[in-house]
Symmetry: C2
Subunit: 182 residues, 2 copies
DNA sequence: GCTACTGTACCGGCTGGACGGTACAGTAGC
DNA sequence: GCTACTGTACCGTCCAGCCGGTACAGTAGC
């Protein structure tokens, strides 16, 4: 009745998903100020009325984005756990892989969290806990796991503020090899 | 709540500085959306007319904030260079010292940079380069210096998204001791 | 096979309020 | 009389949310 497309993943991107994509993209590239309803609708090539048909308020748009993030996050944790190069390298690699859908969703959530929205912080905290669990379990050292996580956060931060250093990842790999974490 | 008044500061803070403090405080705690001219004036206990007497536009407010940041940054780099505990520990310590004026100014600049303002990115990039210079010079290892910087960025990121872990700093110290960087 | 109706998806104009900025008259203290 | 404000009134723009309307697919009744 209300939810018509939650069961199967259709290959064609639904309007709803396109709207969430557009919302995330605008949040990432221009901050929350740029992510107006008009801008989101235009970016998704939908009218404003069409947007508000799917999401009755901006708040619902945030809610929808965060829910989708959680789903993507669960999948990511699974991939991390079973990554052939090991969880640590997988984690670091995906921390600078700013092109992926998941990464964009993460940065968008960080923007929302910065606006004092507790839902954004909660969603990020849940993900961090899950990552830390895998990291900690794999390296068997809480201090090292937390440090690796901080490095990942630093890679994010640089990316989101336009300060990214292309050599950063190889430097980090070098240092982590010395610590026996890679 | 946010601590706007800290003991030990001179009681004679100029209206101009109070306005910049308020602007930074609002940017940090609520993002750029919360930092409206009305809100800044109210937080500084100045009328809107009074605000616009000092800063003729919001743009000038940003400019003033970034200029003050650069001054604070120059002083910080000096302090870092001559810190008794060494530049690395000083850098990490100040990365989590979210109560300081300088830290608030930094986070505020990051917010501005995220809104696609090149002046914000430039100010942060200049500071990062200065820090990296001191770090790199001290540890004599580019990869390690960059990694330490990323850890510092990670500590910031966590702080700004409300994900701060109180044990993070001691964990990092532990790991850096293993690397001979502390 | 036609009518009447329902639900889904979407369009685009509109409004009220917030926000950036202007203008200016007044005033307290040096 | 100058600096450093206060307070009020106002303007244009932007934005969230609302609403009336369109198109169309399905379907129930006759």
């Amino acid at each position: 009745m209300i939810c018509t497309m939650s069961a199967g993943r259709a290959p064609e991107r639904s309007t709803r998903d396109r709207l969430l994509d557009a919302f995330e993209g605008l949040l990432v590239s221009g901050g929350s100020r740029a992510a107006t309803l008009d801008a989101v609708a235009a970016a998704a090539e939908v009218s404003k009325g069409g947007l508000l048909y799917h999401f009755h308020s901006k708040d619902e748009l945030v809610e929808g984005m965060l829910t989708r993030l959680q789903e993507q996050g669960d999948a990511d944790v699974e991939k991390m756990r079973s990554a052939p190069q090991g969880p640590v390298d997988f984690y670091l690699e995906t921390s600078v892989d700013s092109g992926s859908d998941f990464d964009r969703a993460l940065i968008a959530a960080a923007r929302v969290a910065q606006e004092n929205d507790p839902r954004g912080s909660a969603a990020l905290a849940a993900l961090r806990d899950a990552w830390f669990g895998v990291l900690s379990e794999h390296v068997g050292d809480e201090a090292l796991a937390r440090t690796i996580q901080l490095i990942g956060d630093g890679l994010y931060f640089d990316d989101t503020t336009g300060l990214a250093d292309p050599n950063a990842l190889s430097h980090v790999r070098d240092v982590l090899r010395r610590l026996g974490a890679l």
